[in-house]
Chain length 461, copies 4
Amino acid sequence: MSTAIPLETTLPTVNARIYPKGGLDVLSHNEVARLRDVSTGMHDLLRRCALAVLTSGSASDDPRAARELYPEFDIEVHQQDRGMRIDLHNAPAMAFVDGEIIRGVAELLFAVVRDLAYTAMDLGPDSPRDLDTTDGITDAVFGLLRNARILHPTDPNLVVCWGGHSISRDEYVYTKQVGYELGLRGLDICTGCGPGAMKGPMKGATIAHAKQRRFKTRYIGITEPGIIAAESPNPIVNHLVIMPDIEKRLEAFVRMGHGIIVFPGGVGTAEEILYLLGILLREENANLPFPLIFTGPASAAPYFEQIDKFIRLTLGDDATKRYEIIVGDPDQVAKRMSAGIRKVREHRIAQKDSFFFNWSIDIPLTFQRPFVPTHEAMAVLDLHHGRKPHELAADLRRAFSGIVAGNVKEDGMRRIEEFGPFEIHGDADMMQSLDALLRAFVEQRRMKIAGEYKPCYRVVA
Amino acid sequence: MSTAIPLETTLPTVNARIYPKGGLDVLSHNEVARLRDVSTGMHDLLRRCALAVLTSGSASDDPRAARELYPEFDIEVHQQDRGMRIDLHNAPAMAFVDGEIIRGVAELLFAVVRDLAYTAMDLGPDSPRDLDTTDGITDAVFGLLRNARILHPTDPNLVVCWGGHSISRDEYVYTKQVGYELGLRGLDICTGCGPGAMKGPMKGATIAHAKQRRFKTRYIGITEPGIIAAESPNPIVNHLVIMPDIEKRLEAFVRMGHGIIVFPGGVGTAEEILYLLGILLREENANLPFPLIFTGPASAAPYFEQIDKFIRLTLGDDATKRYEIIVGDPDQVAKRMSAGIRKVREHRIAQKDSFFFNWSIDIPLTFQRPFVPTHEAMAVLDLHHGRKPHELAADLRRAFSGIVAGNVKEDGMRRIEEFGPFEIHGDADMMQSLDALLRAFVEQRRMKIAGEYKPCYRVVA
Amino acid sequence: MSTAIPLETTLPTVNARIYPKGGLDVLSHNEVARLRDVSTGMHDLLRRCALAVLTSGSASDDPRAARELYPEFDIEVHQQDRGMRIDLHNAPAMAFVDGEIIRGVAELLFAVVRDLAYTAMDLGPDSPRDLDTTDGITDAVFGLLRNARILHPTDPNLVVCWGGHSISRDEYVYTKQVGYELGLRGLDICTGCGPGAMKGPMKGATIAHAKQRRFKTRYIGITEPGIIAAESPNPIVNHLVIMPDIEKRLEAFVRMGHGIIVFPGGVGTAEEILYLLGILLREENANLPFPLIFTGPASAAPYFEQIDKFIRLTLGDDATKRYEIIVGDPDQVAKRMSAGIRKVREHRIAQKDSFFFNWSIDIPLTFQRPFVPTHEAMAVLDLHHGRKPHELAADLRRAFSGIVAGNVKEDGMRRIEEFGPFEIHGDADMMQSLDALLRAFVEQRRMKIAGEYKPCYRVVA
Amino acid sequence: MSTAIPLETTLPTVNARIYPKGGLDVLSHNEVARLRDVSTGMHDLLRRCALAVLTSGSASDDPRAARELYPEFDIEVHQQDRGMRIDLHNAPAMAFVDGEIIRGVAELLFAVVRDLAYTAMDLGPDSPRDLDTTDGITDAVFGLLRNARILHPTDPNLVVCWGGHSISRDEYVYTKQVGYELGLRGLDICTGCGPGAMKGPMKGATIAHAKQRRFKTRYIGITEPGIIAAESPNPIVNHLVIMPDIEKRLEAFVRMGHGIIVFPGGVGTAEEILYLLGILLREENANLPFPLIFTGPASAAPYFEQIDKFIRLTLGDDATKRYEIIVGDPDQVAKRMSAGIRKVREHRIAQKDSFFFNWSIDIPLTFQRPFVPTHEAMAVLDLHHGRKPHELAADLRRAFSGIVAGNVKEDGMRRIEEFGPFEIHGDADMMQSLDALLRAFVEQRRMKIAGEYKPCYRVVA
């Protein structure tokens, strides 16, 4: 599958040629040309995503770190007799074992190529799609997921796990235990595909699936180009999808997952919670079953109390009906999730909705439109009481999304370096609560930042 | 897989619900809506193609016959929990065994739905593709074949078999023997997917593949909406593709096949021969290996002499270097084809061309552009000596294509009924030879026409 | 899988080394040694059976013909890194395609080795088994079939087809049609694995299974060393079992098959009918469902009338309740068989009997004990009215068995050459009827004997 | 697969019916009868082994504990339509998830039934085998392993891991890391199938195999009735084999494994080391490559020093050439093992020995004959300098074997309770060293004994 020649550089690297196995990924001449195009930035994007895949497991979440460590890294896609070939130059040796690339890493590389090729042809500037309507965006999400071959008509069993990439040892072990209990019950796992709470459930489920002799397992990682460098997919992930932006990534989670478990996390997790609650609180979704469980080890109880309080304050007490908090009981989490998914199954059958894509859930355009966190956009967020819960949730989601960008995404970090922290305006109590929440994340070291954390935002009551 | 309720009509019919197995075919809401759209003619097209699949094996090649026999037949595509569901109303009972649809027929139905949905979205009036350039058309052919999941990076082994749907018992047995010898050598079969020479090789190969324990076999049928009714796919076909028109169908044969065998046939076969020779005679393809064998039982020797003479007269003696005539020797046919494909393999590796799609072969726009055989278009064909062989071949191909349409395609038959026979103009010797060839086809009963054959053309020297 | 070097001899032969695929057949040092043992006759037996497999499709049914045509043929079994290796010396070229052995033939060779090794160790002279009791013999049959890996817990669907190896073209086509109809209904085929009625149903079922996309098909051939040379297995057979003698072969048919179809045949077929009816007529089996259909094309109607008459005369009219005669209606044969097998299924579930081995059917020792057709043994058969039907059937079975041996088995032929025809004694009407039946077989050319048939028996009233 | 009804007892239990999947395990009437036979002790043996499988993961290694906890537990094997059915009565609820048995546990139960049935028929008192010769015993080991379907002709890749069931957290994590590095290199794992060092490598390999997309993995557990209760197999084990006694179990390890890794352990591990070195030190095995690595985390360095010293003292310095000690370097362990196995592969090819069973290694009868550790047998062990190393090793092995029995096997424990500790005689220095080693095992808590350890032996210089 690969032949590798070790090179001598500061960090060990290898050159390698990689061929796909099974040959499902077949590209046209056009698509290969597009991926090689330097002028459009496509080649650079490919290089960055590939590097993230190849440095899975490294400690930093600074997206620029990998590139500084492997400055000579390059990737080329070629057409060949049996289809595609990937040439790697000065690639991180950590992705190889005795000169052979880890098979799972190779698969992720081919997934990167597949998704970027599709995005370039189908969702790029000359896309035939209408990406300004709700239907058009949902159809694009569907198209990309179908092209990634992860829409299977199996019984509902996909549990999305959200949570931090930087969590305590105690919390990490807990996520493994929950994954184990889910796996024993035949449930598959979908996460944002980085370390921490995104990896633990997959590891636990792997052991449980082995014991249950489940071989057609799905460990799905859904990411986007802005986040992949900070949260590089670990190779247990056997289905990687790169959505074009965070909003489509969130929609993919919600339309594919049959239930969601939230582990302790940081700002990104908060963004995800707000996104989901904002949608579930819409009247149109009032009767839609959607199991949602917040859980962590006993030590995480205060964390969820604070989150719960924040939700009550901003979205109202009614919002809490949409989730359940379970502390320190992996078995119970899995039981409740199983039961919830059974209801989802019944509902889909009754509604003639598909098992593999939740067409019924209503996601309005305000949650779908890409939010670009400029200082202007952050400043005009409308964080005041009196708005409809789902509208306020949409803006709160954007606020957290901007802070994630300021913390770990390249564009965002550049903006903060240039113009200083974002200003976020809103009602005093909401701003205080928001600030408290964010400070707690820092104290609990839920951001894997080198050195002392310098906030990228400033709240203004 | 299906539940069926027998109905009482003149010809026995059943109602049935059919579900796909394996669930590879996943449609979006948009696509299902498109297929159900009566206003665009899409629903009617779906109904006609489905009926062709369901009446495989019937005797007539009048495309309207099936519809007259099953006037109440209808089909509906639904979205459901596990994906797609097809509802059949008053469907021909011949596709069922004890009330259960034959599994292969069901697969072909799902292939029809898949290809028509793709064509509607991707190659229809609002297509994002440029279908006026060589590259654009080739990319469309590639896209449709990839979507049909038949571009596999296996070793070259696909033999295209052309020949008549109406052949003698002797010739039919011979096509089975050739298919058997090909199958013993691990070769797969691709045809136009009707009866006669399109079915025999697949049957022979099926027995040989069973003896060789080949399980991943490919019996590919490539058709188009205009011809499917006359040449309905038999269910040994395990990969059916419906190309949007005859020109893309021919391009699909030529880009996917690693070699071509021509059995005795009628006008359609002549069209195919002219198409292929026209392309192979181009200077750009001079060095391209492409095994091409004309073969039949001893009784078919005179047939191939006449074809050979016609080719020499029209395209010149050089054209005969591109093919080999083997009479009455299936073993030898298979050996020569195997040897030829080994050369194709070496050439692809040397040229870094893919095994599964012949990007290198040069097919000019004149062979790609859809030819609509109106009386005007037929009348202006330029069939004179002195033209470049491949240009003359292109017009000869169109002449045959027009006659096929006049014989068995709905549109063409309507035109002939309304305006009388086509007039074909050309040099006297060429016109005589053409007429003699066509008359021989009639005498040899190579057209499965009810009653006496009334020619749909008139040659004018 | 094999590398072959063509040699020059009178009939073309090759030398080859063959390796198993999948590696299920693993032999011990002891077993390999036993197979190579010349002193015990085991090596000779192996050579004869292997030659039969390699000459499948040849015209003669003289067991000695193949050995005269390939006098230098030899086979050796070796132990090697990945397990077994078979070396063939001067093997018939007809089993190879372009120097490669036909994969199905190779599989049959490994089956021969597997079964002879098992028989040598487990059923040979130092066998630990008690082969003198009903239970002991049945257990041995079970052990050999299990070792051959054909006892699968699938739903009952195995139809045993009996009938002649030498039948008319018309009858052969009919057996293919019946096989096709059985195959469309998901039924598998088991025969004695020679040509004629033993091959046609498998060929028909192969095409039908392809159309129904059945991939885990079973074409089981059950033979024994005495008959394999005369009825060499065709390579569609994907499960070959060599039972040690004719009685265990018959028991294997009856315990594995869920229903039996009898096509026109000769003496061997008559033996099979008598064996089965003898068993089914026992009181112990009175309530056991066992679908049994005699069928052939319209032209075979007189044949079955004669058989029917013979049965009524010898076993009484009641015996006819155990079978159904269907003439010229393959569809109806398949429907009736399907319905019969559904009843078998219900009965097994009710009786807690296994689907894959009919433990319930009572087969008395008189049908199990090997019958050696010496002149003495043949002379003392007691063919008189007044005996219990199943006892008379047992002796009639032996009579036919002896005639088969005299016709086509090496030992039997030798005896006839030495001592003249067998004498068979019995009541006058029975003897006349028997003789008429046997003469009809000869007239209808149901014995593939070279030259004029010289009867190996003489009836004495 | 199972339907379960929870019962109320002290420890939670369930009743369940279990059906095999895939149906490879097909029993004869005789075999089922044998397994149900109470008179021969077979039923009791089945019950004990089944209970061990069902209580995998429990804390105690007292073989009698499980039976006291589940006094009402019973198991019945039934014959049924699709083959076998297992009925469990009052089975430990810990083997079930939400009332469904863990699939891996069910597979282990069927393995228990399969092996006990085979042993009863083939190795029992009326066995046809000669179990008093080296060849006879080796053939029996081969027969049982083949019947368990684990002799596959794949490339050599099976690493046997020995080590304690009771090890420190630090050591356990290390065994997982070694397993991970082995798994990354495509190596499979075989252990004695209990907890600790027998489980860690499998867990690590499971994660690595998932990353390398290896699906046909082998986690082989080889046990015997005397030890299974103390070291119950964890359900990651996907191939369980129950050998009839410790000597055949050791022979199975040595003939199947392509290399052996020894982690820190207790008396049992010492027995295994002595067994293996005794064999490898024979002149007949001098040229046989057999990679053998002793390894543990840094904290285990003193442990291996002590072992090393004991080996030098008893077997001489030459014995140390047969193994390599690697401390705290999992990557290096895996690399060295990979390299060693490559040499094994070359040697087998050169010697025409099979990959899956090491026929070449010479194991003398003295290592094969079952040793029954009575007080008499222990007292006459000849532990003096001057004996040939492999003979001394054989007696030292027996000494350790006896102590294991006295510690954790039912028979042995009963003897100690009745007659007091074993007396072991030998040269003073050897006895001191032995005693020191055993005391160190106790101090390091390498025996999972409840309460204070009371030695079951007394050394006598």
